[in-house]
Amino acid sequence: MSVENAPVVDVDEAAIPVEKKMYYRFESNDKKEFRVSELAIQQSETLNRLVEAMGYTSEDVENKPAIAIENIDGKTLKLVFQWCEHHKGEAIPVDDGSVPKIVEIPEFDAKLMDIDNGLLFKLIWAADYLNIVQLLNVSCKKVANMAQGKTPAQLRRVYLLPSDEEDEAAKRAAQEAQDPRAREVEEEFEERKRQGGNSFF
C-alpha cells in the first residue's frame, strides 16, 4: 500500500468509513482532526490504553469531542496515523532495550519518512510519546543511517554534537541563568581564598 493510500482520514476531506469498525477521532494541537481505526490504535501503547480507559462506544466517538493530543501537530500526527493504519494488526515488538537487532526499513516506511529532518525529528518525538515501538525503531534506524561512512568531523556536523568545551560553556550558562546568586557567592569565596582568609562567614 502506498503512503498516499494509507487509510488515515482527515475529517474535513473524507467520508465516514462504511465498515462497521470502530474509528476514534483525534485532534492535533493545531486543531486537525483524524479518524483512526481501533486496530491501528493498538500500535500505540499510549493511545490504546487511553481509549481503553475511556471506554467509548461508537456513539460516544461521534458525539463527544475528538481526543486531543496536545503536543503533536497535524502534519506529524498524520504521518503517525498513516503508519499505524498501514501496520495495523502486525505484531508489536517488545522494547527490552538490550539486544541490538537488525531492522530493515520497509518500502512504505521509507517513503513515509522521505521527509525533511525537522519533520523526522518531530515524528520520533511523537513515536516516543505515543509509545509506538516499531515506528521508533524504523525512524531511529533512519537517523543511524546518517552516520554511514562519515568521518568524526562529518559525524559531529551531521548530529550537531557539541565539543566538551561547548558542553561545559552551556552547562555554566545554564547554571548562571538558573541561580546568578550562587555564582556570585562562588566568586566571592574564590576571592577570599586568594586573599588567604580561612573563614567565609
Binding site: P100, N117, F121, L136, N145, M146, K150, P152, Y159, L160
Partner: protein, 240 residues
C-alpha cells in the same frame, strides 16, 4: 551543505535506539567526539569479552557481539606504541568479511585506545601476553609506559618471567611458559617466582619446571589446582 539532525535533543530512549543501530565502527567514531558521546556509547552496553595486549601482535578488543577491534599491530610502519601520529583501528565482524579501518585524530598511542575501549566497552582489565622475546614488537620500557597503572587481568609470559612479573602486577590469572633455549630458573629468580606462585593469584597455569617441595606446593592459595605440575624428584620429595 549536508543535512543535519540534532541527535542529542531527541528523547533519551530514541537516542538509545539510534545508537543501537550504529555498527561498532560508527559507535567508536561517535564515542571520540565528546565525553557526553563517550558516556552514551558506554550506556549502550556493547560489552567487551576481553581486551588483550599481545606484545607480539598488537591489541585486540573482543566484543560479545561478533566484532573484534584491532590496533597497534604495526608499530614500525604506522603507529609506534607512543607515536604522535594517529593509531589506526581495524574493526572486523566474524560474520561479515568487510573490514573497516580508520585513524582518529587525537588518539595517537595504543594507550589512548586501550583506556578508551576499557571505558566504552565496560571492561576493567587488560589481558597481557608477552610471547617469545624475539617476537616482541615493543620494547620493555614502552610496554611499561603503556600499561602503567592499568589493571592486568591475565598475564601470560614465555621468557624472563621474573622480570615481567616484577613489573606487571597481576590481578586475576597467570600463565608461565618458556622457550626451549631458556635456562631453568635458579637462585633469586627461583625464589621470587615461588613467592609469586604462593601469592594470591586466582588462576595459575605453569608450563615449565619450577622446583619446589611439597610443603610449598600445599601452601598455594589459588582456587584452581594447577594441572601441569609433575613429579620431578622422589628423592627430595619435591615437585616441579
Amino acid at each position: 551543505m549536508a543535512s543535519t539532525f540534532p541527535l542529542l535533543r531527541l528523547p533519551s530512549r530514541a537516542i538509545k535506539f539510534v545508537l543501537k543501530y550504529h555498527d561498532i565502527a560508527e559507535l567508536i567514531l561517535f564515542s571520540t567526539l565528546s565525553n557526553h558521546a563517550k558516556n552514551l556509547v558506554k550506556s549502550d552496553k556493547r560489552n567487551a569479552l576481553n581486551i588483550e595486549f599481545l606484545v607480539c601482535n598488537g591489541c585486540y578488543v573482543n566484543l560479545y557481539c561478533s566484532n573484534t577491534i584491532m590496533f597497534g599491530e604495526s608499530p614500525q610502519q604506522e603507529c609506534g606504541i607512543e607515536s604522535s601520529s594517529p593509531c589506526t583501528v581495524r574493526v572486523i565482524d566474524r560474520w561479515d568479511p568487510v573490514e573497516i579501518s580508520f585513524p582518529v585524530p587525537g588518539f595517537n598511542g595504543v594507550r589512548d585506545w586501550i583506556e578508551h575501549f576499557m571505558f566504552i566497552f565496560n571492561y576493567s582489565m587488560v589481558d597481557v601476553s608477552f610471547g617469545p622475546r624475539d617476537e616482541w614488537k615493543y620494547s620493555h620500557e614502552s610496554i611499561k609506559k603503556v600499561l602503567k597503572c592499568l589493571p592486568i587481568g591475565h598475564l601470560s609470559v614465555f621468557e624472563n618471567a621474573c622480570e615481567i612479573v616484577k613489573n606487571f602486577p597481576i590481578m586475576d590469572s597467570l600463565y608461565v611458559d618458556k622457550t626451549d633455549s631458556e635456562p631453568e630458573l635458579q637462585g633469586e629468580d627461583l625464589k621470587f617466582i615461588k613467592g609469586v606462585l604462593i601469592g594470591n593469584i586466582a588462576r595459575l597455569e605453569v608450563n615449565r619446571v619450577i622446583s619446589m617441595d611439597l610443603g610449598t606446593l600445599f601452601s598455594f592459595t589459588f582456587n584452581c589446582i594447577p594441572q601441569k605440575f609433575c613429579l620431578a624428584s622422589e628423592k627430595d620429595n619435591s615437585y616441579s
